[in-house]
Amino acid sequence: MMKRNECLEILADQLSDDTVVVAVYTTAFDWIKLRPSPLNYIFTGAMDLASSHALGLAIGMPDRRVVVLDGDGSLLMNMGSLVTIAGQAPKNLIHFVAENGTYEANGGHAIPGAGNADFAGFARAAGYASASEFSELDDFQNSLSSLLQAEGPVFAALKIEPGPPPEMDYRMMHGAQIRDDFRAALK
């Protein structure tokens, strides 16, 4: 099992500056500290919609890489999006899921079927171009470059230790400024 921040640090180090990153809740708050950027899209609204926002962005901007930092609890609410994404087959989409088996933002309660569900298996069965899972940080670090260059949609499940949620600034997340900054950064 890995620590989420360690995975995010490796990712932040290897992502190009022009990559759009769609991130959910607790992961979003950790991510924006590691890679502050107006291209961070953390205003998904409903907790299950990150993958769907990312699909729209990837289709609308086929020359720009779009990375999703999803949560297992979030993705469980939008499992059909795996099929939708595979059906649309955006080559520029990479879908990471932090699997810690809990709803970290909502009290740390276990997700249904925690430890039983095979998220990489779901993505593979849905038709993603590739799907993998990582439990060891070295494996993830050594594989990341290939993942980022592969033709998408790419899926990677990251086995993460549950932990206390980060400090969460919902006022910032829900405010208009970051959406305006995102629009401006795309121009």
Partner: protein, 176 residues
């Protein structure tokens, strides 16, 4: 006072599609709806000038449309009233509170000819307009060829103000 609508001059699917395109919509995101299946979804899915994204569940449409809007593209969501009801939280968060232009075209399954939606015998139809009104989402009922003139301005207004809008399809548009 009843707001009963005439059932003459039924709307044609081709007219709706032309109006949608005239408003700059390049993508239609769908879950099949009985009311609009033949008159709209079938020709849309065969239209080489429209990108068609079919999704598993209606709330996906909201996220995808939002992503497209940030990418500078206009989209229309074509779903059934039951799917609209299933998507309310996503519409609330993304469309209303985040002020993102979400354009909904909603077939009113079970609405009878001549009924006003708010007086429909079908419960799932009867509650659609009050819900839209409670959410502050502008709406227009499209049933006749004359109503088609409402479509493009509604979509333009949605993108100009960056707010959602809803176009309710009360009768099955005529298929070509």
């Amino acid at each position: 006072m009843s707001d009963a609508r005439p059932t003459s001059d039924p709307v044609r699917g081709a007219s709706i599609i032309a109006a949608v395109k005239s408003a700059g919509v390049g993508t239609v995101i769908t879950v099949p709806d009985i009311t609009t299946s033949d008159g709209l979804l079938r020709p849309i899915s065969n239209d080489a000038n429209l990108r068609h994204i079919n999704v598993c569940k209606e709330d996906e449409c909201i996220g995808i449309s939002a992503g497209l809007s940030f990418a500078g593209e206009r989209a229309l969501i074509l779903i059934q009233n039951t799917g609209f009801l299933d998507s309310i939280n996503a519409i609330r968060a993304v469309g209303v509170e985040y002020e993102i232009p979400i354009c909904l075209m909603v077939g009113l399954l079970g609405k009878q000819a001549g009924e006003a939606p708010s007086e429909a015998r079908n419960y799932g139809v009867r509650i659609v307009e009050p819900i839209l009104d409670a959410m502050g989402i502008p709406r227009a009922l499209i049933e006749t060829e004359e109503d088609v003139a409402l479509i493009a301005p509604a979509i333009e207004a949605a993108y100009k103000t960056s707010r959602p809008t809803a176009l309710l399809i009360g009768q099955s548009p005529e298929a070509e």
